[in-house]
Amino acid sequence: MGRGEASDRRRIQLSEWKRKLDAVKIQKEDTNKLIMNFLVTEGYVEAAHTFELESGTPPGVDLGAISDRMEIRRAVQRGNVEEAIERVNDLNPEILEEKHQLSFHLQQQRLIELVREGRTEEALEFAQEYLAPRGEEHPAFLGELERTVALLAFEDARSCPVADLMDIAQRQKTASELNAAILASQCQEREPRLPGLLKMLVWAQDHLDEKLIYPRINDLVSGELVEPPADH
């Protein structure tokens, strides 16, 4: 077994393999839970709620808590950082207390939003009061701090050398960092189980390739079985 030469490997034809596939029983209830886990972990509250109604699968967690998390995420995505901070602190005050970098990034985002709204004077005041002291306390943030404050120096922040900070992508970045921190603090799975299973499939097929020639699924999206190439 497994000496590495193709000719040594046993070959399983499609018909035989199909019988093996048929022997694998997949309970719809289990797959439904897998779907629910995906929706819940990724924060698709509405879909999760609908799925509960349509399939009778319980979400397993408090959808309200997810809503909190999603609303926090959306608040950042909308540019309402202050609201996000307040909500996070209500959810778990330890998060922003302990994660200095995240805390800094939120304040940075706040400044960016003030600039975006053209509230330059307020932005300046905010930078002095909230951002500068953090830079002093954590020298690691100084570089980023300088880049951010540079926004204030330009007439049009959108076309200045640090304009990337004004991108929506910056909001997304901050939102994701915050989302991950909340998930971690809730001692909840950060990743849904579905990708894990698909990774397992890829890993297991590669593993079995060393020992057998058999019909594989190469394209996960279609889930099509591909017959092994004919013997030479």
Binding site: I85, E86, N89, D90, N92, P93, E94, L96, E97, E98, K99, H100, S103, E122, F126, Y130, P133, R134, E137, S185, C187
Partner: protein, 628 residues
């Protein structure tokens, strides 16, 4: 933008409007979380007592939650904040809040307590009596694992005294913590192990041994966790405390290597350093091969540097660690440990912290023993003056250790060291030590004197006598007097001191002893009830009867016989109290021997409790026996 800090603080108590207060607390909380500077501002505006006051009144869940969160934030990362929380009684109110029916309040209070107890300034749990304790133990089993972890972290800080430990055990803490120890997440396991270590620390009960054995593998495993939690080494130190049986098991699992690796990491935080140094100190307390392992781990430079750390706790832990290392005779002789640690140890003798001074001086006692590089380092560092100054320190502990260090310094001292010590130590200090209020200091004084006359030449003896203004011998004679109220141990050392004068001073020394009025004491001591005293007296007789065949010696033997020595020796031979004395008595009766060259008992000794002092004394006696 929120209102100004002063406005917010004013709103906390001014109006009776509940919503306004709630909003003010929440605003303050949101400003101070993660913001040290703002915390400082609010603390100085007196916000903490006001928030704590709100926490104490029955203000309803939402307000309690906000207040608890604010209190927790104030207590995190800012010493002034912790102080303010403690001073305003915040901890007691948070503990009360643990018993709330409202789960959100319990969670918020737990988190706040965790923040408070993260600070080393947090109180030992004086308030953790009765219901609060029961509640905490109950929370160990909370479905919300975050709460359970917090409960464990708070409990870990509530086990400082045997009474507190007993109270936690009584409340059923052990079971809850063991259950938490089996949790999947390392953070939970670490919290449980930390609390268990604190709970079991110093308790010798057999049951606790079994639990410790169960906890040890978890802690050792956590040491290897990539995301190491800072508390693990400290918990390990607490677990190993007073439990030598576990030291081997921990070392088997390469705990020493793993701990040493922490010290090698430049990012090692103060807390991690303290725990690591304490754990290493404990592991090296009893076992020579553990000290060897630590020496081989090549972290001595880091440990030496830690002796000068700005953080007092790090310095104290480093002192403790070096003290354990210094118990190793072999390590001291074979490496430069002594020479490397001596200079920083001397700086620690002037540490602001008394405890550090005591540990440092105790460590120096060991370091300077018999190692010439260390002794030279002491001289070079100007340590002598410091040691001499410490002999008059207010704390008896320091006087004992200083005298002890001087005593060890004089043990087998080179001519340079001997001269330097006598020059630095005024005779009056020795006299003061000999009549110190503390008996341990008196004993050290005699032993110091004993070493002054040991292993040296007649000229050295003369010089030492001159140093004392001619009264050193008299001091030895008076403290060898069986009729005086002197403890046997000190009498025996005084006799050894006389013996040393006789041996090192040769003819002049022997004559001086004979003329000193010591003879009646020596003869009387031959039939003392104390073994050690009799043995020392026999040695004196032997020394005075040397060299055989010389007229002067014959005369001294005759004088001793006239004083009743022969009769006393015969009595010993017929009724030998110990084999040791029996044999030496026979030798004293007239055999050839070379006891003159250095057979005298110099008194060197490592600190008690190490088992080494005994070893050293055995060694000296071996020398004597073989030379006879």
């Amino acid at each position: 933008m929120v209102a100004s800090p002063a406005d917010l603080v004013a709103k906390l108590s001014s109006s009776g409007d509940r919503d306004a207060r709630l909003k003010a607390v929440r605003d303050i909380k949101n400003v101070i979380i993660g913001n040290k500077q703002k915390k400082q501002v609010f603390v100085s505006l007196g916000a903490v007592p006001r928030v704590v006051e709100l926490l104490s009144c029955d203000a309803g869940g939402p307000l309690l939650v906000q207040c608890a969160a604010a209190v927790g934030s104030f207590a995190y990362g800012l010493d002034a904040g912790v102080q303010a929380v403690l001073a305003s009684g915040g901890v007691a109110h948070l503990l009360v809040a643990l018993s709330s029916e409202d789960e959100a309040v319990v969670l918020a209070a737990s988190r706040a307590l965790k923040m408070v107890y993260q600070s080393p300034m947090a109180p030992a749990a004086h308030a953790l009596a009765g219901s609060a304790l029961t509640r905490l133990v109950w929370l160990l089993g909370a479905a919300n694992l975050c709460v359970a972890e917090v409960a464990a972290r708070v409990l870990a800080r509530c086990c400082d005294t045997p009474e507190q430990q007993a109270a936690v055990l009584e409340a059923g803490g052990l079971g809850g913590l063991l259950a938490l120890l089996a949790a999947a997440e390392p953070a939970r396991r670490e919290a449980a192990a930390d609390a268990l270590a604190a709970l079991l620390s110093g308790s010798p009960a057999a049951a606790s041994q079994a639990v410790r054995r169960a906890v040890l593998p978890v802690l050792v495993k956590l040491l290897g966790c990539t995301a190491v939690r800072e508390g693990v080494p400290g918990a390990l130190a607490a677990l190993l405390d007073d439990c030598p049986a576990l030291h081997r098991a921990a070392a088997d699992a390469d705990a020493i290597g793993r701990l040493a690796a922490f010290l090698q990491d430049e990012r090692c935080s103060s807390r991690l350093k303290v725990g690591t140094l304490c754990a290493l100190g404990t592991l090296c307390l009893d076992y020579e091969d553990h000290r060897r392992q630590l020496a081989e781990a090549r972290v001595l430079p880091q440990i030496v540097r830690a002796l000068d750390d700005p953080d007092a706790q790090v310095r104290a832990a480093a002192c403790t660690c070096v003290r354990s290392m210094s118990r190793s005779v072999v390590a001291l002789h074979c490496s430069r440990v002594g020479a490397d640690v001596a200079p920083p140890l001397f700086r620690r003798l002037q540490d602001a912290d008394l405890g550090i001074q005591a540990t440092a001086s105790a460590t120096l006692c060991n370091v300077v023993l018999d190692t010439s590089p260390a002794q030279e380092a002491v001289l070079a560092a100007g340590g002598l003056a410091t040691l001499v100054r410490l002999t008059s320190a207010p704390a008896a502990e320091l006087r004992v250790n200083a005298a002890w260090a001087l005593q060890n310094l004089m043990h087998h001292a080179s001519a340079d060291v001997r001269a330097a010590v006598l020059a630095a130590l005024p005779w009056e200090r020795v006299e003061a030590l000999a009549s110190d209020a503390d008996a341990r200091v008196q004993e050290r004084a005699v032993k110091l004197l004993q070493n002054v006359f040991a292993y040296c030449t007649p000229r050295d003896v003369e010089a030492a006598q001159a140093w004392s203004g001619g009264v050193a011998l008299r001091l030895l004679v008076s403290s060898a007097n069986p009729a005086a109220n002197v403890p046997p141990l000190r009498r025996s050392h005084s006799l050894y001191g006389l013996c040393n004068v006789a041996v090192s001073g040769e003819e002049a020394g022997r004559a001086a002893v004979m003329a000193s009025g010591a003879v009646p004491h020596i003869v009387a001591s031959l039939s003392d009830t104390d073994n050690a005293v009799r043995l020392a007296a026999v040695w004196c007789v032997i020394a005075l009867s040397e060299p055989h065949g010389k007229p002067a010696a014959a005369q001294r033997v005759a004088d001793l016989a006239a004083a009743g020595a022969l009769a006393a020796l015969r009595g010993l031979a017929e009724d030998p109290p110990s084999l040791d004395i029996h044999e030496r008595d026979g030798d004293g009766g007239g055999e050839e021997g070379g006891a003159g060259d250095g057979g005298a008992a110099g008194e060197g000794g490592l600190l008690p409790g190490t088992g080494q002092e005994v070893l050293m004394r055995d060694e000296d006696e071996d020398v004597v026996l073989s030379s006879l």
